[in-house]
């Protein structure tokens, strides 16, 4: 089942990569990749964080130039593509990192660069036609925003859906989706998979990148596995399974993904009572997280989970209600205070809030705890580097050294850096908002292990997640939110996809 592309009898490929390599200063991101796409096939692309998936796709999308190798489209060979050439060749790209203009509305974003025009020399935008063209695409994905919604008002999940809408609008032959589902919940994901099936049926090819492997078992015709920039194998439809993919990705079997708790949970550590936030000012939320417990917080996109986390951490104002740690009511007007009480937050949008992209890994890790790396107000860079190095080893952050800038890391490794900065400080309560968004299975299992170890050492963990498998696998208890309120709690015995979903859409399980 290794290599040898001719497993499938497909139409002749219209797109081919020959011996493509890309190196960044001192780092071989993609190495001698050969890859072909035929019409109407869905290709899954998997690999660990930093394996080179996005880099490869960016080469196809014309965003970066390969160091060597050729691209062949409809028999024409080229050294590289520009974004426009790629688009004109019928390739659409959903970027992993969001590339939207939040000063424009939805419709303008979808058709940016290809606006429908009124006739005449002035190149005026036909806004009616623009909105009319966008609406059916929105309907197709069943999203809850309109062509006129400003992107600045949209949540990250909504933005991800918008990126997909943008790609669909291109009417392309090949749609590249780089982790399109990383912040989607089950319902949107299912809708997206249906769209992918629809595309396939109409002869469009799709390259689908995801770290949620069961999505690939559902939709892919074949799965290509990358490791360290090389293709290490390919799985035909019949062979696609969790185990097979993981084995190729990390070169070994994974022991159990989820680790069971070692001890029984203790007293309530974090207790929030009748909290109201600005997004859902009419609803109140009460919940508590016990010592040593991982409380999963599930819900649909926009259920208000992120908002709740932000309010507890002091980013957003609490309209009313109280937060208590270890039975003592505390005041949180500022993240600094929350941190002082041992409440840490791993935010959802790591690129904007999680880390500073253009400072080093070491400084990112040290930032919340700079005082500890300093004496007399002066920073000791040796301590900063040493602490970071320790975390890098502990979390297996893939970077040549800790002086690397945050922006040069793959998404998963960035996430580890965000986690690392809190782990260096001994949390009492850790709130993780989508902690494994865009993180590969290997790293996921490490992160889960880490969370469990933390919980076992007495930390109370509130884990917000849209990944159903993860919520069920990792949590000791699950709270489900629906439109700003808790629609129910589930004990371990009641855990099931069905139950979580019922609560998430606001139905009762009994």
């Amino acid at each position: 089942m290794l290599a040898g592309g001719s497993i499938l009898k497909m139409a002749d490929p219209f797109f081919r990569l020959a011996d493509i390599s890309k190196s960044y200063a001192g780092l071989q991101a993609v190495q001698g990749v050969n890859f072909a796409v035929s019409s109407g096939e869905v290709i899954g692309l998997v690999g660990e964080n930093g394996a080179g998936k996005s880099t490869l796709m960016k080469i196809i999308g014309g965003v970066i130039e390969p160091s060597s190798g050729t691209l062949e489209i409809d028999g024409v060979q080229r050294k590289s593509l520009t974004v426009l050439e790629s688009m004109r060749s019928g390739i659409a790209f959903v970027h992993q990192e969001l590339n939207l203009f939040d000063n424009l509305d939805v419709a303008s974003n979808v058709y940016i660069g290809r606006e429908p025009l009124y006739g005449g020399p002035f190149r005026l935008v036909d806004r009616k036609k623009l909105n009319a063209d966008v609406q059916p695409l929105l309907d197709r994905l069943g999203v809850d925003f309109t062509p006129e919604t400003m992107v600045s008002d949209m949540s990250i999940a909504q933005r991800q859906l918008l990126e997909i809408v943008k790609a669909l609008s291109l009417n392309s032959r090949l749609v590249i989706m780089d982790e399109p589902t990383s912040s989607l919940t089950l319902i949107e994901t299912d809708r997206l998979l249906a769209v992918v099936a629809g595309l396939k049926a109409s002869g469009v090819s799709v390259i689908f990148i995801s770290h949620r492997l069961n999505e690939l078992t559902k939709c892919a015709d074949r799965v290509v596995v990358l490791r360290d920039g090389c293709i290490v194998g390919e799985l035909a439809k019949g062979d696609i399974s969790h185990g097979a993919m993981i084995r190729l990705m990390i070169g070994r079997d994974l022991k159990a993904l989820y680790v069971p708790p070692a001890a029984r949970p203790g007293e309530d550590v974090l207790k929030i009572s009748n909290v109201r936030t600005t997004v859902y000012p009419t609803q109140t939320v009460s919940l508590s997280v016990r010592q040593g417990e991982i409380l999963g917080l599930a819900g649909l996109v926009g259920a208000g989970r992120t908002e709740l986390a932000r309010a507890i951490f002091g980013i957003d104002p609490l309209l009313s209600g109280s937060v208590a740690v270890n039975g003592k009511a505390i005041q949180v007007d500022d993240p600094r205070q929350a941190i002082g009480h041992g409440i840490f937050l791993v935010p959802e949008d790591r690129k904007r809030c999680g880390l500073l992209l253009d400072i080093s890994i070491a400084e990112n890790i040290a930032l919340p705890n700079m005082q500890a790396c300093a004496s007399g107000g002066l920073v000791n860079d040796v301590i900063v580097a040493a602490n970071a190095e320790r975390q890098r080893e502990r979390l297996h952050i893939r970077a040549p050294n800790v002086d690397q800038e945050g922006s040069s890391l793959s998404g998963g490794n960035q996430q580890k850096v965000v986690l690392a900065k809190w782990l260096a400080m001994n949390p009492r309560v850790l709130i993780c908002d989508e902690p494994t968004r865009g993180v590969d299975v290997g790293a996921k299992s490490e992160l889960y292990e880490m969370l469990r170890l933390l919980a076992d050492s007495g930390v109370a963990i509130l884990m917000i997640s849209s990944d159903m498998e993860e919520v069920i696998g990792v949590s000791d208890r699950i709270a489900v939110m629906h439109e700003g309120m808790i629609s129910g709690f589930l004990e371990r015995a009641e855990f099931s996809e069905h139950n979580v979903l019922r609560l998430a859409v606001g139905e009762s399980i009994h």
Partner: protein, 325 residues
């Protein structure tokens, strides 16, 4: 965007009303005409500035361009006896060239807009002063160019032509900025240049175009100013005008981080600045306090607008609260 414009309009109306109550001459045809004329003169290049600011850039050489082109224009007509339409076209061409140079240095040579246009500020001012040997270029007494004068400093039904020019330019630029593809690209580039490039927008061209538009509008302004003052002392003509332009744009809702701003806002910003200037003279406030009054009104106005917006937001939140109970 729209709400910001309303806030500014209210501020202008409040200030205007207060001034009119204290000194009714504020509303006299002659005073309104004078103010409209100045709004026209300053508004034209402020719109140009807004285009640059929306791309996330800045244009500091406005005042110096006005001095240099003004000196050249006057000297070509008076010293070299060139026909004025030819001189006018030449100035516009020079404007295009200046804009192109700025745009190319910024996009191709990857220089910071601040540096490029600061050097422009110094170089054009120096060139103007050197050209006249620090003397004054002016239309001497009796020099008369009836058509050109009618066109630039004339009035029709009491409305100064400079103001009409502003209205025409503002309408045109409104269409360009808010309705054309180019306008979209401008906002996109200003917000996120990299993403714009990913979307297949030729960002360099968009940025260059913004600087060219700005320079052309500044050149038009320069001619209006030359005809208004009729004499140009190159060491002081147009000094600080870049600050005026930026202030008008920022008051009008442009963000210096790029990606934000509207034409209506910029025009209203210009109107506010001129009304403030006017009220100091009209109310007999000691001219030493001129600046202080201007600064205070802007500060209080923007502060009030901000507080009002927040109050509205809180109120709508509170309304949500009540509906719970």
């Amino acid at each position: 965007m729209f709400k910001k414009d309303i806030g500014l309009l209210i501020l202008i109306l409040v200030v205007g009303t207060v001034v009119a109550v204290i000194n009714p001459l504020f509303l006299s045809a002659i005073n309104l005409g004078n103010t409209a004329n100045l709004v026209g003169l300053f508004g034209i290049f402020a719109i140009g500035q807004a285009f640059v600011i929306i791309t996330g850039g800045i244009e500091l050489s406005v005042g110096s361009i006005i001095a240099l082109l003004g000196v050249l224009f006057v000297d070509l007509i008076v010293g070299h006896e060139m026909a004025w339409p030819l001189a006018l076209v030449l100035m516009l061409v020079l404007g295009v060239v200046i804009g192109l140079i700025h745009g190319l240095l910024i996009t191709r040579m990857h220089m910071q807009p601040f540096i490029v246009t600061l050097c422009g500020l110094l170089i054009y001012r120096g060139a103007a002063r050197f050209y006249t040997q620090d003397g004054t270029a002016g239309f001497g007494f009796g020099v008369s160019l009836p058509q050109l004068e009618w066109l630039t400093t004339g009035r029709t039904f009491g409305v100064p032509h400079s103001f009409m020019a502003l209205i025409v330019i503002a309408c045109l630029m409104w269409v360009v900025l808010h309705r054309s593809v180019f306008g979209r690209y401008l906002y996109a580039v200003g917000k996120n240049e990299e993403a714009a490039r990913y979307s297949g927008i030729r960002t360099n061209r968009v940025i260059i175009a913004a600087y060219v538009i700005s320079a052309i509008l500044t050149a038009i302004s320069a001619i209006f100013f030359a005809m208004y003052t009729r004499s140009i002392s190159p060491s002081s003509h147009g000094n600080f005008y870049e600050l005026y332009a930026i202030a008008a744009a920022v008051l009008g809702g442009c963000s210096l981080r790029g990606g934000e701003g509207s034409i209506v806002g910029v025009v209203l910003g210009t109107v506010l600045l001129q009304v403030l200037q006017n009220l100091v003279n009209l109310l007999g406030i000691p001219s030493s306090l001129n600046f202080a009054v201007m600064g205070s009104v802007i500060l209080i106005g923007v502060l009030a607008d901000q507080q009002f917006a927040e109050y509205r937001k809180r109120k709508s939140e509170a309304a949500g609260k009540i509906s719970t109970a």
